[in-house]
């Protein structure tokens, strides 16, 4: 899956799941603040990641993910690792 495709797909499901304007999702925007995530919202985030990209998320995966760029790169790494396996 190409990186741009990952970005587009991610932005679409995040905007839908968390009911925000897709224009607010920019690479440098803070993930937690933009999506207004509380601890329980991370569960919903994991559900949409796993259902859209078919890989298992581990709790420690979120360490170091601050903005959307970090998040895209994380998804890209996991998707490509899955495709290579």
């Amino acid at each position: 899956m190409q990186f741009l495709e990952i970005i587009e797909k991610t932005n679409a499901f995040l905007a839908e799941e968390f009911e925000i304007d897709v224009e607010k999702i920019t690479p440098e925007a803070n993930l937690k603040d933009t999506l207004e995530l509380d601890s329980l919202d991370y569960i919903d985030l994991v559900v949409v990641i796993e259902s859209n990209f078919s890989f298992k998320v581990q709790p420690e995966d979120f360490v170091g993910i601050v903005n959307f760029q970090d998040f895209y790169e994380y998804v890209d790494t996991r998707v490509n690792a899955k495709e290579l396996a």
């Binding site: 329980l40 569960i43 994991v46 559900v47 796993e50 998320v57 709790p59």
Partner: protein
């Protein structure tokens, strides 16, 4: 194989007068079901109707009964379930005194220590309420 428990309320941490399930009637890998008869002296009955909060508690206690049943059958320490969040709650109708409720929960997903369930309460063929819950199961 499902063996109906002798006393369902023993499976959950809630005690009288806050027990909103009567019997655990089914449990398998993905679902559980309970029944409950609305009594006039129930603390969540108001003006002859079982409240929306009572319906939510009924769904939550169905999930708790499932956790207690599975823990008991696996001879593991008791677990307690805490509702983390309720989502997409729809209450279509409030049951009346002497109505018998049949509640089913389905396990949608397990993410980390959180169980995502869908619950539905019916009286006969009529769906009274449904919702999704995030439940934390904590081992005591």
């Amino acid at each position: 194989m499902f063996i109906p428990p002798a006393n369902t309320p023993d499976l959950i941490p809630q005690k009288f007068p806050f027990v909103m399930i009567d019997d655990l009637t089914w449990t398998d890998e993905k679902s559980s079901r309970t029944t409950f008869c609305v009594k006039a002296d129930n603390v969540l009955v108001d003006d002859g109707e079982f409240s929306a909060g009572g319906l939510v508690e009924n769904i939550a206690q169905t999930a708790a009964a499932r956790a207690g049943y599975l823990a008991q059958n696996q001879e593991k320490p008791d677990s307690i379930g805490y509702i983390g969040a309720i989502k997409n709650l729809e209450v279509f109708s409030l049951p009346k005194i002497n109505d018998t409720l049949e509640t089913e929960i389905i396990i949608d997903n397990q993410i980390f220590d959180v169980t995502l369930i869908s619950g539905k309460v019916k009286c006969g063929e009529e769906t009274l309420a449904q919702c999704q819950m995030k439940v934390f199961i904590i081992k005591q």
